[in-house]
Amino acid sequence: MPKKALCTGFIYTHDSWDEYWEGTLKRSNGNIGAITTQSVAWMGAYGITDRLNAIAMVPYLWTGASQGVLQGQSGVQDLSLALKYRLLETPFTGAGSLRVILAATAGTPLSDYTPDFLPLSIGLASSRFSGRSTLYFHADSGFFVNATGAYTWRGNVTLDRPAYFTDGELHMSDEVQMPDVFDYSVSTGYIKGAWQVPISFSQQLTLGGGDIRRQDMPFVSNKMNLSRVDALVKYALPWVRGLQVQVAAAHIVSGRNVGQGTTLSAGFLYTIGF
């Protein structure tokens, strides 16, 4: 993002799964059928300088189960605020350039939704802070490779009950300690002219937490791990200056204490220069 440019837009996301991992056991469940989570997210990015960008995002989510008696939930989820800083940009191997990007993200719930109704809760209701570093190589031909990793610290969550049982122990408290999360992603693709076409593989590892017990509901501090493949197409419309449209698809290939979600999203982003 160049200095004093604002990029803002909305993205609609549809995620659905009918199989999930109860601990490491993959199963379906007639009490819920398929779980669908939809969201509309507003995002905005502003170039404070050419190197430093501020990014904000707020999603509205709604969930539902195709079978059984569990009620879907809806609401404004968490506000995320990020600062992204391009630490270094240098020519590399004569064929392209290398960038090092650092980012810090803080997130906190914007509404009083319950995290104690998984898998239908709209989020985990935990305030969090993460640090991310990214290495990006862009060849002059348009191809690029990208590697990024982030560590997320998560604050405690408060439930609407005085005791809970997880990871083999009863806790006489309404407060739940949330384990930290590490995630990384590698991506490759093509960026040239009006087109951006990255595909990526990412993994999320929760550094602690217990498994879902046999035939139990998920719990907010569960060890939620997943491996996912993503594909994205971004295209800058030639007849409207500054308008970009994007469609994306993602699929979870393996996981633990998460649903095997397939995600489709579509949205637009509009860039205004000041």
Partner: protein, 207 residues
């Protein structure tokens, strides 16, 4: 990309302010991510009434407080009793941290702690069985209690029965204990020997 060199000079200051903002946010998260103890910390319980007449309260399960006999204690002046007092002093002088923690734990109230232990068991076993592939449901097996599904069930009727067993047993035990406490009326060791420190709030209850 233009003027890259001039921007590079100012970059460290911007990086420092970004790092500062990050550190502030980090401290905020760190402050609220304290670990949650599994055992509820309770202040030591103090009795506001010794219930001296509890030995004559109506029994629910036992025929009477003498259904179990408790032998009279040896005389205060006897060697056997003095040896018991000496054993308490030796034990008190050599308490391990685990023993001190246990004293703090039970100071919170034995009835309350036993209720919590039972709640832990109910939470552990309060799971419905998962259906088999053919859609049928297995039942717990008393001869193989740790197989899936775990034995016993802890659904609300079973749990209510378990709570009532433990609570009624505690109530009967209290009445029998009070009956013999007041029958033999032996002061507690800390009242007999000032070298013994009470490690829980004291009462006027006999030993």
């Amino acid at each position: 990309m233009k003027n890259e060199s001039t921007r590079t000079i100012r970059a460290p200051r911007r990086l420092a302010s970004a790092a500062l903002a990050a550190a502030v946010a980090l401290a905020g998260v760190a402050a609220c991510s304290r670990s949650i103890p599994t055992l509820e910390e309770l202040t030591p319980q103090t009795a506001n009434n010794d219930d001296a007449g509890a030995g004559s309260w109506k029994m629910i399960l036992l025929s009477g407080p003498t259904q179990f006999t408790v032998a009279p204690p040896s005389a205060v002046s006897s060697d056997a009793y003095q040896a018991e007092l000496a054993a308490i002093k030796t034990a008190q002088a050599n308490l391990t941290q685990a023993q001190k923690d246990a004293i703090d734990y039970w100071s919170g109230g034995a009835v309350l702690r036993w209720n919590q232990i039972l709640r832990e068991l109910v939470a552990r076993y309060n799971l419905p069985p998962a259906p088999r592939d053919d859609g049928s449901y297995p039942a717990p097996d008393a001869n193989n209690p740790f197989a899936d599904p775990a034995f016993p069930f802890a659904n609300p009727p079973y749990s209510a029965r378990a709570y009532s067993y433990v609570t009624a047993a505690q109530f009967e035990a209290l009445k029998v204990a009070w009956y013999y406490k007041y029958q033999y009326n032996r002061p507690s060791p800390s009242r007999v020997d000032s070298g013994i420190q009470p490690l829980m709030p004291t009462t006027d209850l006999p030993s």
